[in-house]
């Protein structure tokens, strides 16, 4: 048992790859609106950027590589042709190569997780980093699903990641409701990143130029043999109801009357 672990560790350390999934989402500062046909949020003529949590995930992967624990950082994005721009930003930050799984469908987390699992089977990374959630759907599911599909340990909402190269273990501080929880996870593992983990670097102009020549491999879901049929269908997207203005009441009796007969809460 120990022998095989140390053999796999040596193998991992020398050639460890880190796979980072990055999502192209509506920029966080943009005011969104629902499409008139209610099928979703308007993304035409809207500024798109890399999901902020994915930026943090990529930054952490780059720092691990720069510390000497990994050989290669691979950025992956799943979506339409413009995802290449998001991958180029990732390459400009320092990722070594990119993989673009091109599709015009908008996939839900389980499908994305299946695609990432297929890629992990091909690339054999020692770590998979994702942002804890995407700011467009706030699902907070993909990382956890990838770990389950792969049978790997997971450490989500990471606010600190420390790698122990001797023991092939990552010690992760997680931000949970009650405070901070520290976990040791054996590699290979899935880690999803939270806000306080790091501050992502700016892509410098020379790096942006160099990134143009880094390779981005195009793939399709058929190449990865992934079943994309979804169990969930989005029926309608609407704006939240406008908050009604408050009403002043003149007496306690009036308040009780309103609570009973209008709001039906008593």
């Amino acid at each position: 048992e120990i022998k095989s672990a140390s053999v796999s560790f040596l193998y991992c350390y020398r050639t460890m790859k880190i796979l980072v999934a990055v999502k192209r989402v509506v920029d966080y500062a943009v005011k969104i609106r629902v499409k008139p046909d209610k099928t979703g949020v308007e993304t035409q003529n809207v500024k798109m950027s890399m999901n902020p949590f994915c930026e943090i995930a990529l930054e952490e992967a780059l720092r691990i590589k720069e510390a000497g624990f990994a050989k290669e950082v691979i950025a992956v994005s799943i979506g339409p042709s413009q995802c290449v721009d998001t991958l180029r930003t990732g390459l400009a930050m320092g990722a070594d190569r990119g993989i673009h799984v091109e599709t015009n469908s908008s996939f839900l987390p389980l499908t994305i997780a299946k695609i990432l699992k297929s890629l992990a089977d091909v690339e054999n990374p020692g770590l998979i980093f994702l942002g804890k959630q995407a700011i467009d759907d706030d699902c907070n599911q993909t990382g956890q699903m990838v770990a389950a599909l792969l049978g790997w340990p997971q450490a989500t909402f990471a606010s600190k990641v420390v790698l122990d190269k001797d023991k092939n273990v990552a010690t992760v501080d997680r931000e949970v409701d009650g405070g901070l929880e520290t976990l040791n996870v054996d590699l290979p593992a899935v880690i999803t990143t939270d806000l306080r983990l790091n501050q992502p670097r700016y892509a410098s102009l020379p790096n942006i130029m160099k990134a143009k020549s880094k390779p981005i491999k195009k793939m399709t879901v058929q190449d990865l043999k992934v079943d994309i049929k979804s169990d969930i269908e989005i029926l309608e997207v609407t704006e939240p109801p406008k908050r009604k203005s408050g009403v002043m009441v003149s007496s306690v009796d009036e308040l009780i009357d309103k609570l009973k007969n209008e709001a039906h809460v008593v």
């Binding site: 500062a29 950027s49 410098s204 160099k210």
Partner: protein, 629 residues
């Protein structure tokens, strides 16, 4: 990686150094020291006479450059070549043949023209465009009824290339508004053949065309300084350091800026460009041709999505009169675009007298006018934005060439005020500068040909014919309208005199005690809105932890002068509520600058009475994110 390191070690092959060596061999050169101070003033520019190079400055500013290819390292990226990267003392330096600051209509037209010439003559030219917006088109806002004259020259097949120019102008309405009525007047505009477009969308398309031809465009990088060589010639720009915290210290993700050098540098920063203004001052480019000061207006715009039944694509409406008083020049526009969208805005000339005037609130008032309200009711606002524009026209055009490059587009000021169109002239100026730059780099000519070609072009004829409309309004609304009618129907600019502009905008503000405060109605949340709500719709954002990009030359002037004497005009004309006076611990008013809100409109740089506010670039990528404007 290694190909960049190789360049570092051989400093003797630094093309700029070899350039200097070349210049010293040229005859009649005083030593470079004599040009470092302002003791030598550039000669006044007579219309035809010049020294034998046809250039007002001394010979060493002549750009006699040999191609860099012998010294440069071909990087082979996107087919571009002759670009070198070197690094000294932590600052990297990247060199191009032509550097263009600003990816707007002028900058991109120049890039496209350069690449076209380079393809035609089979000479490779590396062209780089830097843009402070996060995306090309993100900082672009304009009316816009587009005259395709320059585009027809630049890209004759644009109609087959999916340009976002689809809605031809179908009607020209002109209304004089009173508080309750809209009086139809004969339209002074003739927009037949023009198109109602979103300039932001058009510039994005134009950027795509420029990239297809091999231009390197880098959005998200703001040019914060001009770089000069020892002979005071412009050699490029430095991008702003990123990752500096509010107190000036370096943050964890500090990234030093980069020096981007060009054998020719073109400034295309738009109206009141921050670096362009410095260049104009430094080389005294207005004095050079006896040009007047530039005058400006502030345009505030919203894009609405309205009821299908009220939407009439191609309809063009302009108004005059209410809500502005007869002493304030300005008017509104309402253009029907496609997709049920209308562009609606108010333009207020910045030489208004009453410091209590609030252009944003005037715009909110306008929307309640019965004629405008009818169109907007039932609709929603999609985007909001604001930007200053040039109104100086012909009289204010500076000499646009300086040692090392030229100024193109609205940074120089080619907007045709009576037509209220500046896009076509900006594009043409970019094309002419590109042709001059190509000539300077490869045919032994110099950038001076840009000035000559401008004056021979339709841009000059157009601006000359339009020169007397705006200054006539100095005498009031009715005299202005009378002169406009005369000019439009009879004179068409063929008079022997040129009217002059009045005082500079910042000097035109009266003292607060001489003026009546204006009380503006509260926004109703349906047609009119408060500033924070509108600002949210501009998608503007800046990293909050950076030093304020709005600099006060004297930090005491706001409390000593602006507040007591002018009733804090900056808290009224700024369309983004950047400037607020709050009470400090002693109950005294103190200026608070909310730099994060800034829309990059430059109104404060123009209108501050003591010219105390200097607009400088924030970190690249910040600012509004216009997509429909």
């Amino acid at each position: 990686m290694h190909r960049f390191l190789v360049k570092l070690s051989s400093s003797s092959s630094n093309p700029l150094r070899s350039l200097k060596n070349q210049r010293l061999i040229l005859p009649l050169l005083p030593s470079s020291k004599s040009f470092s101070s302002s003791s030598v003033s550039p000669p006044t520019r007579p219309s035809n006479a010049s020294n034998r190079f046809g250039y007002p400055y001394f010979a060493e500013f002549l750009i006699k450059l040999s191609p860099l290819s012998s010294n440069s390292r071909t990087l082979g990226v996107n087919g571009s070549s002759s670009r070198c990267i070197s690094s000294e003392a932590g600052r990297e330096s990247i060199e191009y043949d032509v550097l263009i600051v600003g990816a707007g209509p002028a900058g991109l037209s120049a890039a496209i023209r350069l690449k076209q010439l380079s393809q035609e003559k089979n000479i490779d030219l590396s062209v780089c465009v830097v843009e402070k917006g996060a995306e090309v088109g993100g900082h672009i806002i304009s009316g816009n009824v587009f005259e395709p004259l320059a585009l027809d020259e630049l890209l004759p097949h644009w109609r087959q290339e999916h340009a976002p120019i689809e809605i031809p102008a179908s009607s020209d309405k002109f209304w004089f508004l009173t508080k309750d009525r809209a009086i139809s007047l004969p339209s002074p505009f003739d927009n037949k053949g023009n198109y109602v477009i979103s300039l932001s969308q058009f510039v994005r398309w134009l950027g795509g065309k420029a990239e297809e031809l091999g231009t390197e465009i880098y959005p998200g990088f703001s040019a914060s300084e001009v770089l000069y060589d020892a002979s005071d010639k412009v050699v490029g720009i430095a991008t702003k350091d990123m990752g500096i915290s509010k107190d000036g210290s370096k943050k964890e993700n500090f990234q030093p800026g980069v020096d981007i050098k060009g054998r020719v540098t073109l400034f295309a920063e738009g109206c009141r460009g921050s670096l362009s203004e410095r260049i104009i001052k430094k080389y005294k480019l207005r004095e050079e041709v006896n040009a007047q000061h530039q005058t400006y207006a502030l345009g505030i715009k919203e894009v609405w999505e309205i009821d299908e039944s009220k939407h009439n694509p191609g309809e063009v409406i302009h108004t005059l009169g209410w809500p502005l008083d007869p002493k304030t020049y300005g008017g509104s526009f309402l253009y029907h675009m496609n997709d049920r969208q209308v562009a609606l805005g108010l333009v207020v000339a910045l030489n208004y007298h009453n410091p209590f005037l609030n252009p944003y609130e005037e715009f909110q008032k306008l929307k309640h006018h019965p004629a405008i309200k009818g169109i907007l009711e039932g609709g929603t606002v999609l985007q909001y934005g604001a930007r200053t524009l040039n109104e100086g026209g012909f009289q204010s055009i500076p000499y646009p060439v300086f040692p090392g490059g030229a100024i193109i587009g609205c940074s120089a000021g080619f907007l045709n005020v009576p037509k209220i169109k500046g896009t076509h002239t900006a594009m043409k100026s970019g094309m002419l500068a590109a042709e001059a730059a190509f000539g300077a780099l490869h045919e032994g000519l110099n950038m001076n040909t840009y000035w000559d070609n401008l004056r021979d072009s339709w841009v000059w004829k157009e601006l000359y014919a339009a020169r007397n409309y705006r200054p006539a309004f100095e005498y009031g609304l009715l005299p202005g309208l009378a002169v406009s009618a005369m000019e439009h129907y009879v004179l068409k600019g063929k008079v022997p005199f040129t009217l002059k502009h009045g005082k500079a905008d910042h000097e035109a503000t009266d003292l607060a005690r001489k003026c009546t405060p204006i009380v503006y109605p509260k926004p109703d949340g349906v047609l009119s809105f408060d500033v924070p709500t509108s600002l949210y719709r501009s998608n503007t954002n800046h990293d909050h932890d950076q030093p304020s990009h709005l600099r006060l030359r004297d930090p005491k002037i706001p409390e000593k002068v602006n507040f007591p004497e002018y009733a804090a005009p900056e808290s009224r004309y700024c369309p983004a509520r950047v400037y607020e006076y709050i009470e400090d611990e002693e109950g005294k008013p103190k200026l608070q600058i909310n730099a994060q809100n800034c829309l990059h409109c430059k109104a404060c740089d123009i209108k501050d009475p003591k010219q105390n506010i200097e607009w400088t670039v924030p970190e690249g990528g910040g600012g509004p994110a216009y997509s429909l404007m």
